[in-house]
Amino acid sequence: MAEFTSAEAVVSAAERAYEAGYRRMDAYSPYPVEGLAEAIGFTRNRLPLLVLIGGLMGGLGAYFMMWYSSVIHYPINVGGRPLHSWPAFIPITFELTVLGSAVTAVLGMLGLNGLPMPHHPVFNVPGFALASRNRFFLCIQSDDPQYDPTTVREFLEGLAPKLVSEVATSAGGEATGLGH
């Protein structure tokens, strides 16, 4: 894992690592850095599709709920409106679409990225707490096909980082699985 002091440095380092053929890597920054996700090869995100499905389920479920209760289950004359008065169903349909999407967005994000993960091997790296303050990290994972401790360390040092360190997996710790 290499530590950088600027966002530009970690983006160009990630691009070079990707050109060098490394695929299983991850980058850590205090804020979203434009281009960093693409640079480490993280280009496909299934969350928008999940949110669309969640929103559709919320909306269709809401409309079905209202249609079923007012037309099938307990039809009742309220104010002389037709039983299937669809304009009155729209606000609830809209709101439950938003609710379904938002809940799917949060839970889908947690499900896809594996969070919450209070324990992670990268936290073993000295000074990694700065990853949420003012430092940028690029980590090449040991499950990469090209991984070799010596060559990876040489490659990372060639990127002119502030510091290169090895990520110790803690006893009983799990393999890094963030992203991808």
Partner: protein, 230 residues
């Protein structure tokens, strides 16, 4: 690893959380969802249980009156005691005089019947405990059900087999509406209303539809609010 100048040094090199917290945090998030769903289900089941609805729960009475004995063993018709059931909204609980029409002559020394004799002497009515008690904002009319072909058994169960009276049905609004929506499932010929042992024929639905026409039962209006909550 030496302390790095200008950094937080070694203070943050140790993991704050042990590995088990990963599992704990994920399980607790998804467990919370299942817990909430399970809790709702349990609450739902409690409100459907006899604990709330009192179905099949016998109620203590000042006199342990046995419907089983008076109907099955003696063959007394329902209307001998519940006289107003065909003409009034309230089926009526018999007065002490009704009991005494027989018990002034038989079992006159029975200690079980002491409250009845006392009631007769003091002119104080017996305080029977109600088994079927609807909330007072729901208006129920016995006569219209009896006269349209809803048998006693449909709502009160096999009273002729009850040594002490209990609720056979939950008397919830959902249960009432079940029959108001589909009365053809429960209707019987008028002459069989007070028959405790009548069993529905195989073509109950056909019979029910025929009775709906014959009795002019307005099925399309039976679930309106004003029918009960007047």
């Amino acid at each position: 690893m030496p302390a790095r100048p200008g950094s937080w040094g070694g203070a943050f090199t140790v993991q704050v959380f042990p590995p088990s917290t990963n599992t704990i945090s994920r399980v607790s998030i998804f467990g919370a969802v299942f817990f909430a769903v399970g809790l709702l289900f349990v609450v739902y089941m409690i409100f459907r249980s006899p604990y709330i609805t009192q179905v099949n729960v016998t109620v203590d009475q000042p006199v342990p009156f046995s419907h089983e004995h008076h109907i099955t063993a003696l063959g007394i018709d329902c209307r001998y005691c519940h006289t107003s059931v065909e003409s009034s909204t309230f089926a009526g609980i018999p007065a002490t005089e009704t009991c005494m029409s027989c018990h002034s002559q038989i079992w006159v020394n029975s200690p079980m019947l002491e409250p009845v004799r006392k009631s007769m002497q003091t002119n104080e009515p017996i305080r029977w405990n109600r088994v079927h008690d609807l909330p007072d904002y729901a208006y129920f009319n016995h006569a219209v059900h009896v006269n349209k072909g809803v048998g006693c058994v449909s709502c009160h169960g096999r009273v002729d087999l009850m040594p002490l009276t209990w609720k056979a049905e939950p008397m919830t609004m959902e249960w009432c509406l079940g029959c108001h929506r589909e009365p053809e499932k429960h209707l019987r010929p008028i002459e069989e209303v007070f028959n405790m042992t009548w069993t529905p024929p195989k073509d109950q639905l056909a019979l029910g539809r025929e009775l709906i026409k014959k009795q002019h039962i307005p099925v399309d209006r039976l679930t309106n609010c004003y029918v009960c909550h007047r």
